[in-house]
Every structure is written in C-alpha cells, then in structure tokens.
Amino acid sequence: MAATVEQIERKTLGKVRPHQTQNEGLVFEKSAAGKRGYKLPPLDVPEVDAKAALGPAYRVEKAGLPELSEIEIIRHFTRLSTWNYAIDLGMYPLGSCTMKYNPRVNEYVARIEGLADAHPYRPESLAQGVLEVIDLLQRCLIEITGMDTITLQPAAGAHGEFTGILLVRAWHESRGNARRKIIIPDSAHGTNPATAAICGYQVENLKSNAQGGIDLEALERQVDEDTAALMLTNPSTLGVFENEIHKIADILHAKGALLYMDGANMNALVGKVRPGDFGVDVMHLNLHKTFSTPHGGGGPGSGPVACKKFLEPFLPTPVLVKKDGELHWEYNRPQTVGRVRAFYGNTGMFIRALAYILANGPDGLRQTTEDAVLNANYIRKNLEDLYELPYKTPSMHEVVFSDKRQAAKGVKTGDIAKRLIDYGFHPYTVSFPLIVHGALMIEPTESESLEELDLFIEAMRSIAKEVEESPDLVKSAPHSTRVSRLDEVQAARKPVLRWRHENK
C-alpha cells in the first residue's frame, strides 16, 4: 500500500509534479527574547515619562508579540506563501469569483508617491490628482454599466449590496412607503438575503424555472405593492443570461418595485451589453472580480454602486462634484442614506481598476468578455459527455455541471474538487448554486490559454475515469498537498482561534 502512495506522489499528474514545501511553525514559536527585526532612528525630541504622562492608562505589561530578526520574518512568510495556490500558479476556476490575472502594473501604480501616501483629509486643492483618478474611474464605470451615476464608497460586494438596498429603501420612503419585502431567486448568493435582512426587509424566495432562470409567471404572482425590489444576478449563478430581462423589469416597475442587479457576473457582459440598457435600476460591481484587483486571500475588495438618476439624491455622502474646474466632495445632501464607511472607499483599489481599464481600452474590454465566454463554452463542450449538465441553456462566462453520474459511484462534487488539486488546479466552486444538487461551478475567466484549458479538461476527464475505476482514490484526495483533509468538525466543536503563550 505504501508503495502505491509513493507512486501516486511521484507521478506527474496533469500539469504538476509534487514539489517539496518546507515545514514552518507559528511565528510565536520562532520568537526569542532579544531578537529584533527593526531599528528606530534616535528620538530627536525629549523623551516622555510614559508612566507619569498616562497614569492609570499606562500599559504595564507589553503585548505578547513575537520577536524575530528580519531574515526569519522573510523566511517565515515566504514559506507560508508556498503553501498557497494562486492565479500566478495556474487556473483558478472558482465560479462566481472571477479569478482573473491581476496585472502587476496595477500594484506598481497603486504605490506611486502622491497617491499611496495621500491623507484623506488633506485639502482638496492638494488632492486634485487622486480626485481626477476617482472621477475618471467613475465615468468609465458609468459608461460600462449604462447607468447614470455611481458611488465608489462600498468596501466590497456585500457592502455594495447593502448600499444599493439602502438606496432602494430611501427612494421608497421618499414616496411614503418603505415597503416590506425583497424577492430573491433561490439561485442567489448568500449575501443577497443577508443584505436584505440587515436593511430591515423580509426575504421572499423566488423559485427558478425549469431552465434555471426567473419564472416570469411566479414573479408576476409574487410582486405586489409590498415588494421593494428584486435582487437579480445576471447572468445568473448558472452562468445563464436572463433573456427576458426586460419583462422582469417591466413586471417590477408596473408595481412600483425596483430591479437590483448583483454585478458579480459582470465579466460576462462588459462591452457587449449594459445593465442600464436592459432595465436595471441599481447594481453593484466587484472591482476585485471584473476589474482585476487582487483577491489577496479574501480581500480587500471594492463594491461600487451604480444607479439611475432618480436614485442619485440618496447616494452616500460625500459625492464627488466638479465646480469651476476643480473636483470637490459635496456633503450637503439632505436625502442621503448617510455614510457607509469612513472616508471615500478603497481608493487603492480604484487606482488598480482604472489601470486595468486603461490597459484594455474599449477593444480590450470587449475581447476580454468574449474570451471569458469562449473559455467557459470550450470547457462545457469538452466535458458535457462525462459530467451531467443539469441546465442545457447556453452558458455565458461560467458553466455549472452536477455530480449526478459520479455520485452514483459514491463520489461527490467535493471529492472531485479535492482530486483536482492533485492535478495542479484550484477547485471550481463546490455545491453552489444551491438549485443544482452537487454542483460543479466552473468559471475559467479570460486569463486561461488554450494549453491551460486543455490541461484542465484532461484533468477533469481523467478524474471522471478514476471515479469509474478507483473511486476511493478520488474520495481520499488530495494526495499531494502538505496537509491531507482537515478535521473541520473538530475545529468548530472545540474552537482554537489563537495561539497561547502557555502552549510554548
């Protein structure tokens, strides 16, 4: 048995061969009193007796932080980094997450002097450079979405949803009735219902039709004078464009409800079709998806909200305005929903997103969308004979299979995902959307070459074969990672969320 494992470990599989990663303890375990990773310049003003100055507010015991030298710090975090998979290493086909290439010039320009070190309260006369960057990005995003106006303040997609639904609510209230409920399709991201709830709305579920899209008749029955909005992801989480989108908008508008669009899947639309043209009233974008700002292991993101003119009075303060050729923040907006965060938003992400738009131009943005859709359809074509396609509707930028055939052999989508790791790929999104039992949600993005796509397809086909011939190999995957499957039950039952000194 040991020999078999050995063979598995040594064999080239897909695009990878196993390579060694180094063990590395916690940073606290490497600490020793007296080691230093810093050196402050001499103090050029008189010292202060902190104990006397602070009195009872003086901190007697120093915080239990580690003590390491610089080389150890570099090695520690470098070793940790080698335990991560990343876009820079290969395809990262997480559906709905749009893991595309993060251009390096974006990182460079975000760190330029004058931008990276600009204080948010510096006088506007000294901030015209960064304000012009923000202004140009706003204009580009308004054009791309076909909307009338925008706020860049929200810090991430879910924060954008929150902001967008606040606009919806403020508008309804201005007409005398906030209304009670928000309709959300059963295929939606979990952030949608969570957002509606924190904005004080009841969530009403809308069942998808046989094609996985909006059931117009059901929608018509559900929308009433108590409906504030429908939160719609388009293309849907199945990667399907709602082709009756304008009828959806009409049904809502007829009852005075609004159409909110979750822009998570905007990478399928840029340069080809604009939400503002097909009836959307308000939407958010994810700059960390569509506009190439890095995910960074979970953030920071940026979630601008674009909307139609009639929602403009309610935008969060401040709003960027141009007066006498200079850009200013305007605070006096009586109908505003208020601030959704301090300062103006994740400006560092605005710079990166604008750099991406400039690098593409109109032709590049369109080609990007076309390539993203081409890649998804290429994968679909090459896997649909082995994996169940629950909805035959045409795919846009992502394709959703189910594990129906593999489940017959006792292998689930999660197992296939883990096995994909052995072949040198990050897994697709597992078990989402919820309307597909055992979903495999694959979004290649435009960043994959034909060679990488073929390797991925080969890996998925090989795994399908393994499921038939040796399902246990798949069920016990991954076999090549530095840790095997981790005990999540224990982690949740007896949470250990920090290291403690007494453990050392």
Partner: protein, 449 residues
C-alpha cells in the same frame, strides 16, 4: 491585448470545437435590442508606460512635498520595506478566500497569527480575520451587541470619530434602533460619565466609546465599563489608532473591541483599503461577524488551519447570518501581521513611546505660541491633541500651506462649539525641525485682543 493569452487562430479553433460560427453566436441569448453595437466610450487602450505616466502625473498633481500633521483616524507611520516585498508574492496576492484549506494553509496560518496578535494587543480572548475598516467594524460590533443582549438601544459617545458615528447611524437607520449620543466634559475632552450613567438603561444593548478618542484623549475605560455593566449593557471600545496599544493599557473591561489596524503598516491611500477587526470575550464568539481561522488536524494528525464556525456566515445562514460580510481585508490584515512581527513585543512599545514624545513636544511647541491654547490639557493623551487659537484656523492653516505644511484638522465642521480648534497628530515620522517650523509660522500670527 497583452493580458489575453490567445492567438486569433486559437480563438477560431476553439469556436470550431464548440460548433459556433462566430463569437457572437455565444451571445445570441442576449436580446438584440440590448446588445452594444458600438465601442464603449472609455479611454483607448494604453501601453504600460503610458499608464505609469498617467498615475505618476496624478501623484505629482497631488503635491508630494508637504509635511503633514493630519491624523483623525488615518495615521502616517513608517512602513517597513519587507511588508510590500512579502504581500506582493503572488501566492498571497492572487489567492482567493481560503475555502480550500489544503492549498491555502499559508493564508490560513497567517490569519491565525493575526487573530492571536490582535487578541494579545487588545486584551480580548478572540479576534476575527478582519472587517472592512474601523467605522464598519464599530457598526457591526453594535449589531453584535444587540444580538448578544437582545436589546435594541445604542449609547454612543460624541468623542467617537464623527465619520464612524455617521456609519453607525446608517447601519441602524432602517432597523428602527434608537441611538443616544453622550457629550464630553469641556475641561477634559472625556466622555461625560454622569450623562452616560443617566442614559444607560435596561434597554441599552451597548455603550460605544473610542479610546484614544477623536480628540486624542484616553477615556476612563474602567469607569465607563462599570456604568455599562451595571445595567447589563455591553461595552464596545473602538480604537482608531492601533499603535496606541503599545503604551496605552488595553481595554480589558470591554466586551467587544473594534479596531482600525491601518497604523500597522498600511498606506494612507486616501482613506482605504484599511483593516478593521473585531475582538471580543470568548462567550460572544458565536455572535461575531466575519471569518475566523481555527486550528485543527489533518488525517495524519498534522496541525493545520481551516475557516471555522461558518454557520454564523451568509453563505450558510443566508438571511439569518450574523452579517452579510463576505470579502474582508485579508491582504491588509497580512500587512498588519508582518508589521507586528517586524516591530514585535519591544518595537511596538518603543514606537509608541516615540509617538508619545513627538506629540508631547509638538503640543508644547504650538501651544506656547501667542493666542494658542492646548485644550483638554490635563487629560492623558497619545499622539493627538486639540489646539485652540484666537486667530481663525483658516488663516494660519493657509500660512502653513504656503510653507508646505498641512496643519491640524479643523474641528468646527463636527463640533460647532470648538471654534478655531484644530486636531493635530504627530507620529514618529515627523521631524523636530518640521515641528519647530510649524510653531514659528503659528507665532507669526497677528496677535489680536
């Protein structure tokens, strides 16, 4: 397009394999009336050198050669070079949220280290993997307190950062949750404890204060905690200047601490991205918003880390989740983790001492000038202080600007009673000669009766 790895021939080949004639066949599902048949009206495709030139010009237009005494929730500290070397490793930069634990152990262990450091600094039991920023973190902490206590009223000190209070108001607005605001004592700049005691009732979910507060004054946390706890309310302490914890006693009496960690090696970037974080007593763990990394073992007994307690979160609980937060500020939290490793136990203390000394010197130098007065003089402070002048602030701040110095922030826009008062911050990066220069400019004021 240089980011797209396909030749025209490969595109043709792929279309053929799919069975499509042209790329637009794949977009046929979009009704023709909505399809965009023109180019987007955005700037033309640019070369990398043009992009760099554009942003460099924007940076220069921002005026880079000014010294600055601005703080107020966004602090200029030295950023060790290794931070950017490490966070720009593609394995950190271009990785997703660590849902697939086997191939994201690097991010997960770093989050675990971050959580530990924040808990150590704040004196809390546990910390989460980050929030968007200090303002949203404070608002989410209040919502958390409401879940914990089942109470619906908030009490907030007016010495909490004004923009944080605005954000809190936005978060509470549509939930019909009333908020009482408590003023400060004019002499001390600290929360008015009598008013606080009168405002906290059996319906109060939590008291929210900031320390050091917006004026740079350190609040009397034990006294505030006693008032809150007496009525069964929780105490939330917001910390906007994280470096203060190097020398200021941590708010151990608090139930929840919401901190902005920007000072730990994060660039100002005109206000973001920053790094909020919520820390709390262990018993409130299950009401925490946001991600948590936890330690566990793999099938072979090796230590490993996973995202845990996710039944609190939106992707599992949907409308019943503790928050709608999904993407947080992971890479910025990594910056903070590296910063805290570089400075470490001794360095964070030493750094805090330098800040304390610089601010004390600045406060003394400026308040010694004719017509100038240091407000809240006898209260303990960290590295910010409020200066009041006879001369209108606009006049002498303009004189400072002429000398390429950005002076303190005018407080009148938020506190009308503080006329001609400005909030100054001096961190370790401010040189003595800059401080002396600013004092000289201030002294040049035309003294009025």
């Amino acid at each position: 397009m240089r980011y797209l790895p396909k030749s025209p021939a490969e595109r043709e080949q792929m279309l053929k394999a799919i069975g499509a004639q042209a790329i637009d066949d794949l977009f046929a599902i979009i009704p023709a009336e909505y399809r965009l048949t023109r180019d987007l009206d955005v700037p033309r495709q640019q070369g990398e050198s043009e992009i760099v030139s554009y942003f460099k010009a924007a940076g220069q237009k921002n005026a880079t050669d000014y010294a600055s005494f601005l703080g107020a929730g966004c602090y200029r500290h030295y950023r060790p070079v290794v931070i950017d070397s490490l966070v720009q490793r593609g394995e950190f930069l271009t990785s997703y949220t660590p849902y697939q634990a086997e191939i994201t152990q690097g991010t997960l262990q770093a989050i675990f280290e971050f959580q530990t450091m924040i808990a150590e600094l704040t004196g809390m039991d546990v910390a989460n993997a980050s929030m968007y920023d200090g303002s949203t973190g404070a608002a989410e902490a209040m919502l958390m307190a409401m879940r914990v206590t089942g109470r619906q009223k908030a009490v907030v000190a007016s010495t909490v950062h004004p923009e944080y209070r605005e954000v809190l108001a936005t978060y509470l607005r549509y939930r019909d949750l009333p908020t009482a605001e408590i003023g400060y004592v004019a002499d001390t700049g600290r929360v008015d404890l009598e008013a606080l005691a009168a405002a906290v009732t059996e319906e109060t979910a939590a008291v929210l204060v900031q320390s050091p507060n917006f004026f740079g004054v350190i609040e009397d946390i034990p006294a505030i905690a006693e008032i809150a706890h007496k009525k069964g309310a929780l105490l939330i302490v917001s910390i906007a200047e994280a470096i203060s914890l190097g020398i200021v006693r941590p708010p151990v009496e608090a139930d929840i601490v919401s901190m902005e960690a920007q000072s730990f090696g994060v660039a100002l970037s005109y206000g973001g991205p920053f790094c909020g974080v919520i820390a709390a007593k262990e018993q409130y763990l299950r009401q925490m918003p946001g991600r948590l990394a936890g330690q566990t073992v793999d099938g072979d007994g090796n230590r490993g880390f996973v995202l845990t307690l996710s039944t609190r979160e939106q992707h599992i609980r949907r409308e019943k989740a503790t928050s709608n937060i999904c993407t947080n500020q992971a890479l910025v939290a990594l910056m903070a983790t590296i910063f805290l490793t570089v400075y470490g136990k001794e360095g964070v203390r030493e750094l805090a001492e330098h800040n304390l000394a610089k601010a004390a010197y600045t406060a003394k130098a400026l308040s010694a000038q004719p017509g100038a007065k240091l407000l809240f003089k006898d209260s303990p402070r960290f590295h910010e202080f409020v200066l009041q002048t006879q001369e209108p602030a606009e006049q002498w701040t303009q004189r400072l600007l002429d000398e390429k110095i950005v002076g303190g922030l005018g407080l009148g826009r938020w506190y009308p009673e503080l006329k001609n008062a400005t909030l100054w911050c001096a961190t370790e990066v401010i040189a003595r000669e800059t401080i002396d220069h600013a004092a000289k400019v201030l002294a040049a004021a035309p003294v009025e009766a």
